[in-house]
Subunit: 220 residues, 2 copies
DNA sequence: TGTTGATGACTGACTGGTCATTTAGTAAAT
DNA sequence: ATTTACTAAATGACCAGTCAGTCATCAACA
């Protein structure tokens, strides 16, 4: 009974059919909404609205709200970690230079980008989804930590670094990145963190600790 | 119709009136349930059941579920941080000894206790409650970081440590604790972390980086 | 070039269930 | 007998997920 009468006399079509762009657009919108509200606090209808799409359509591309979460988490970090791993394996300068240069650069960007909310999402929802955390561990954590380990091993072999606890726990290299993510999520409005300086101080510390004092043997 | 007929013929009273113990008992139960399910995933009725209390009673002691969260977050870390701060200010040995001894001991316990879930709760719910994070920042973060700063300043004054980025960012001393909390919450089932070794490696690193190389002046 | 039928991308009102919170009443304690 | 800690059942808001129907698009035919 007359519902398409007046509300769009000269307007264009009510929607466009764009099967292939939709999933990405929706995931993008989801990242933003999740960042603002967290996963539990975000309504599917919010995400739909942000994506300029009806709620029903969401379920054509993502079977459940959780599936959407998985798409978001999988899509945003994985490529970057691969890039870092590749950069490490291609690097043939000193490890210290790598840490002070490309590595610092990368983690500094990472820690000031939207990617930080992945930490929030993983903390909030990870424990409920072992398959998701397993995937993340296998495809992000091991790739990243593995590459870091290779970098450090190489540096030790070449006498640049001395062996240290960091070789057993490459997580230590990334701990301040996680810290920065947590800080920004929770305290930034009360006390902003100067992330780049913070991470620079960190790199200075670990490089200083690992660098073999000159004239202590094992040089080539 | 007839539900209190047979199930407790000779039993004692159906409940006890214990106005003063209740709040603490409920907060304790809440910590456990929040740890298992997260805040959003925990039902008020779950907490009530764990505390051995009816759902309605919860609302006599805590006006809302959020209030309960605040009680939990405020109650569990604050005392410990105070303890550390006091220990620091009373210490009169070397800073390195403090970091390798009491400090390592404390953060190691902290990182393997139920307290780690505070990080999870703050990440999930903090952004929604500026008053809560403000309180936490003022009463936990500044107290802890302030004490650490004093320790480091003293060590520099006495020529034990050289000035470094860590003095500007004492957060770096705690970053691995946060990392350990995140790791255990998310990845522990896939790859357990040996927290004590991990934190020992961290302390070794920072002490090594900050310790003034012998014979470089400024000794007393 | 214009019409038309089929396809499936898309909409939005609706449903069913879950919970936080309220409230009317019960019984422990004094 | 009165007070009030406490219970249990009711209330109502909220929201993930569904589904019956709409309409943008395009191929095939005129």
């Amino acid at each position: 009974m007359s519902q398409q009468d007046n509300h769009q006399a000269a307007t264009g079509p009510r929607f466009k059919r764009r099967k292939d762009q939709r999933p990405e657009e929706i995931a993008e919108a989801a990242l933003e909404v999740f960042a603002e509200r967290g996963f539990a606090g975000a309504r599917v209808s919010d995400v739909a609205e942000r994506a300029g799409v009806s709620k029903g359509l969401m379920y054509l591309y993502y079977k459940t709200k959780q599936d959407l979460l998985k798409a978001v988490i999988r899509g945003f970090i994985e490529p970057r970690v691969r890039d870092v791993a590749t950069a490490i394996d291609r690097w043939d300068g000193s490890a210290a230079d790598f840490l002070r240069g490309p590595f610092l650069q990368t983690i500094s960007q990472l820690a000031t980008s939207r990617a930080v909310i992945i930490v929030r999402l993983m903390m909030a929802e990870g424990p409920k989804h072992p398959d998701l955390t397993k995937y993340y561990y296998d495809h992000v954590i091991t790739v990243g930590l593995g590459a870091m380990s290779r970098l450090l091993d190489r540096a030790v072999d070449q006498g640049e670094f001395r062996p240290s606890g960091i070789h057993r726990f490459p997580q230590l290299l990334l701990a301040p990145v996680v810290m920065a993510a947590v800080w920004q999520t929770v305290f930034d409005r009360h006390q902003p963190l100067e992330v780049h300086d913070f991470l620079t101080a960190h790199i200075d510390t670990v490089v200083s600790a690992m660098t073999r004092p000159v004239g202590e043997g094992n040089e080539p």
